[in-house]
Amino acid sequence: MPPTVQPSFAQRAGLAIVAGLLMAVVAIVVSLADRPGPPPSVLKDAVAVNALFKGIPEQGNTVGAADAPLQLVVFVDPQCPYCRQWETKVLPLLVSDYVRPGKLQITVQILHFIGPDSTTAATYLEAAGMQNLLWPTIELLYQNQGEENSGWFTNAFVRSLGRSVHGLEVARWQRDAHSSTVSSALASSEALASQSKVDSTPTLLLGRRGGPLQLLPLKTLLPQGTIPFIETALKGTAQ
């Protein structure tokens, strides 16, 4: 019987390492297949959102005519799914029927308590406000909002968002997002939320221009939950 040749150390080690590499490759492939794909170059609904706000005056985090008789303040978190519902179902109607005709001015206060994606998104939203383009930016963000705390607000998403907002100077926007002006604006929103006893999002405060703001008891995030209050308040301003 011929003597059996024992495999060398290199052969045995190589076999084990190759087996390990194969297992790792399988795990990596499964892991990558589980990832959401990159966002499109231009985000969904970009054309409609840009058209919605086109020609309406914006100043920082406020949209609408400065002499509008009614003022609405909205507290939101960029990751909040209920805010998304309000922003996508109610806001477009408010903009077209009340803001564009000069009856209503809306101010958004951005909070970021849900998680890291909220904080990053909030900085980019405030930075868009420095170019008076916060509103199409936040509306597009909500139209394309990812799963809460899933890491969806990536650099790729930022680039797509920047490309999707008409008139936004993207390089300046990305610089501004890390500025002390943005940090101060976010701190101010938090302070205002605390002062107004806002403990959930979305929270809406409505009032006449220059007058006290009242908390809107939102019973539904559909238009019928907000618009009747606007109509009633408008009737009040007409008297």
Binding site: F9, R12, A13, A16, A19, A24, V30, R35, S150, G151
Partner: protein, 137 residues
């Protein structure tokens, strides 16, 4: 096989199990201590799980498999140990790259576990060599 080749892998497995348990516990109840920041960003990212399987659970399974492999003797056991450790090490290097280049945030606990796995794979290589020498003599 030298004393440190026997004891250091055991220490690394215990450390890995402890770290994985800690991450899972802290994620479940909040309050993951993070001295260098970045843990929350990494742990809440899409890379923190494969489907519904959280990566610390996968790490725990890998370390438990290594613990069983450590208990067994012989060249075949060392080869299985090296294969599992290599798989863990390659996957850990991938996760470190994700943290550095994709998330641009480092989770200290994940890094400890990842680097521990890479070190374990290097030790497994030496352990296989030592086991083969012992068998040959």
């Amino acid at each position: 096989m030298s004393k440190w080749l026997r004891t250091l892998p055991v220490a690394l497995v215990l450390l890995g199990i402890a770290v994985c348990f800690y991450i899972l516990e802290a994620k479940a109840h909040g309050g993951l201590a993070c001295p260098i920041g970045g843990c929350e960003k990494v742990q809440s990212s899409v890379y923190s799980h494969i489907g519904s399987l959280q990566l610390p659970v996968l790490g725990l399974l890998a370390y438990l498999c290594l613990a069983f492999a450590l208990l067994a003797s012989g060249v075949k056991a060392r080869m299985v140990e090296l294969a599992i450790a290599s798989a863990g090490a390659f996957f850990s290097l991938y996760l470190i790259a994700i943290q550095l280049f994709v998330l641009q945030a480092i989770c200290m606990w994940c890094a400890v576990s990842d680097l521990g796995m890479v070190l374990f794979a290097c030790l497994s290589l030496l352990r296989l060599q030592a086991e083969m020498r012992t068998e040959a003599s």
